[in-house]
């Protein structure tokens, strides 16, 4: 066998795994359906960038329709699923808000009596957070009072800026938590990363190589270590052998030819939609592979998102900044049942963008009330003078929220697409409304002369979690605490699909820490590992 380990997906979870295994001498092959990002299209100084960015760095695969994309039917979902299919995965376009989960996130059953505990604790994951924060060049400040004390990220935080300072002062007056926010944004030259230029286009790719994205932080070293990365390699199904082990994968190459990749162990790192899609497409059973629990695809969690924008008299020059987040607040993160819901949300304070952004649905709401009489004064009022709280709300796992196969819509190679069925729960609705109301108070306390609470924005499914749930009981979970499928001992899932609950945080810090921990466990148990010979 040419390769010890096959990894599907070259986003952060795949990249971390590939690099770490290669360091230990594993022969690793990675199949990635997309391409390397083309940073020559990050033309941030051109006047047409706000327009071309939607095409070249768009988040919705259904609109983008790049060669590496597959269709996702979202007609029965309250939220659309967003992702970047290519080397670096979602980190290429992420806002770089880098949040660890809090201790309670791993213990919601014990503390709140709902859903499930994780088969690990914050303390178990903490050393891996520290390591991935070094690897991704995270900036921030240690000893945030919302987390247990310990080692923080390697770089100093991004400046709070005038907006961050103003809101921080307001929180001090209110007695509410805030802290300089952690970001995957290099505030100094660091490793292969350059210092941030605060141009604020993080969500459309960084033109300066300052954002901690897996294509920059992990892939160059992984390739040096001998990892073989095949791009434009679209995995159609896993190869299931007569003995029940997985022998690798069948994929379609850039020329449309079907190929086989064989390896002793297979790791899925294809995200909360791509991973269940692949499992449901594999094997002989109509239920797909590794699905004796029936849980593959179920419990999809996407984090309902709330935005609250404050418009101020003061000029923050806030059309740019790091974006990213200046400060975050976890004041209302923990459960308080008197509020009428359980769990909570994290807030991140962000800039609002250039003139074009002042007219768009995000973050001002679909019925942006800027058009017509008074347009120019409204633009002048908002531009540079506004800042927004982005609210990441925890949603609870529900079996009816799920990923299924779409046999009608297929990708460019004829592989069936995915369909998501997702409805916002009553708990989520109440949670978002409560948090929006508090965020409005925060901005008013900071002196905002106007606060816009955007109605629910549909196109916000950045976080794709929960669809191959991790647990100790094979009857109710798909993978164990090592990320190994209960049903198939040489098949692993290392992406956010394994999350038992969603937390109310941007997930990449925990996806990354978990992938590193899973990789270490695979290395430790390599002697006992069953492999497809």
């Amino acid at each position: 066998m040419e390769h010890d380990v096959l990894i599907v997906g070259a986003g952060p979870s795949g990249a971390i795994t590939a690099k770490r295994l290669a360091e230990e001498g594993f022969r690793v092959l990675v199949l990635e359906q997309g391409d390397w990002p083309d940073y020559s299209k990050a033309t941030v100084h051109r006047e047409d960038f706000p327009l071309t960015a939607g095409r070249d760095w768009g988040w919705d695969p259904n609109l983008r329709q790049a060669p590496g994309d597959y269709p996702i039917d979202d007609t029965e979902s309250d939220i659309t699923a967003l992702m970047w299919n290519g080397v670096g995965g979602g980190t290429v376009v992420y806002a770089a808000q880098w949040q660890r989960n809090m201790p309670s996130d791993f213990r919601v059953k014990t503390l709140d009596g709902i859903a499930d505990d994780w088969p690990m604790t914050y303390e178990d994951l903490e050393p891996y957070y520290v390591r991935v924060e070094r690897d991704f060049g995270i900036s921030g400040l240690a000893n945030d009072t919302a987390f247990p004390p310990g080692e923080g990220p390697p770089l100093p935080p991004v400046p709070l800026g005038p907006a961050g300072r103003r809101v921080a002062k307001a929180h001090n007056d209110l007695g509410w938590h805030w802290w300089p926010a952690p970001n995957a944004i290099a505030t100094r030259d660091y490793g292969g990363l350059h210092a941030c230029q605060q141009v604020g286009t993080c969500l459309q790719a960084c033109a300066y190589g300052a954002k901690g994205t897996a294509d920059l932080t992990h892939w160059p070293r992984a390739l040096e270590l001998g990892v073989e990365l095949r791009t434009r390699a679209r995995v159609r199904e896993l190869i299931v052998r007569p003995d029940g082990l997985v022998g690798g994968a069948r994929y379609i190459d850039a020329d449309g030819n079907e190929q086989e990749a064989r390896a002793g162990v297979t790791v899925l790192a294809a995200n909360g939609v791509g991973t269940p899609r692949l499992l449901l497409l594999s094997g002989d059973s109509p239920d797909g592979l590794a699905n004796s629990s029936g849980m593959v695809g179920k419990r999809l969690m996407m984090h309902p998102f709330g935005t609250v924008v404050g418009v101020f008299d003061e000029d923050f020059r806030a059309w740019q900044g790091p974006w990213g987040q200046f400060i975050h607040s976890l004041e209302f993160y923990e459960t308080d049942e008197s509020r009428g819901f359980v769990r909570g949300a994290k807030w991140g304070l962000q800039p609002t963008g250039g003139p074009f952004s002042m007219t768009s649905a995000y973050p001002w709401g679909a019925e942006n009330e800027i058009w017509g009489e008074g347009f120019q004064d409204a633009v002048r009022g908002r531009l540079g003078h506004s800042t927004m709280w982005g609210i990441i709300a925890e949603d609870l796992p529900e079996e009816s929220n799920r990923v299924v196969i779409d046999r009608v819509n297929r990708d460019a190679d004829g592989v069936p697409g995915a369909k998501i069925e997702y409805r916002l729960s009553e708990n989520s609705r109440r949670l978002v409304e409560f948090h929006q109301a508090r965020a409005k108070e925060s901005l008013l306390a900071a002196g905002a002369r106007d606060v816009v609470v955007a109605p629910f924005i549909r196109s916000t499914g950045w976080h794709l979690l929960g669809t191959t749930v991790m647990g100790t009981d094979p009857a109710t979970s798909v993978v164990d605490a090592q990320g190994r499928c209960h049903d198939v001992p040489n098949l692993y899932v290392f992406d956010g699909s394994v999350w038992p609950t969603s937390a109310g945080m941007n997930p990449t810090a925990t996806i990354a820490a978990l992938a590193l921990r899973f990789a270490e466990q695979l290395i430790e148990t390599r002697r006992e590992q069953k492999v497809a010979a």
Binding site: H45, P50, L111, T121, T145, A168, E334, P355, V379, G384
Partner: protein
Amino acid sequence: MALTDAQRAQLGAIADQLIPAGGGMPSASEAGVAGQYLDEVLTSLPDLGPALETALAAVDGLEPDAALAVLREDPAAWGVLTAVVPGAYFMNPAIRAAIGYPGLERRPIDASAEPDYLQDGLLDSVIARGPVFRPTPTD
């Protein structure tokens, strides 16, 4: 992609509903939203051309305010219109100057300056309050 003069006139009239003259600044059509700057937008994003023509054809013959009301109800058409009109308007350098927007500039972080989170003891009260998370049993 060339729009006809009639299509441009139709677009200009609808665009002026969205952006009338005001605040000492010209309306959309006066600022070239249906002329030079439309051409620039369509050079950057050629795919918008056919979509724009479809949207305009659907409201051909309607008064501008009635046309706008129809376009608002069609997400695809509304998407094209609200990309093209402000896109072209803000492409005009005179408009950018009038709203005080210099474009995106490099603002490197000054590593030698005192970090602004340390100024005025901003974090003191947060730290004084102590932990705000629920500790969990670790066994």
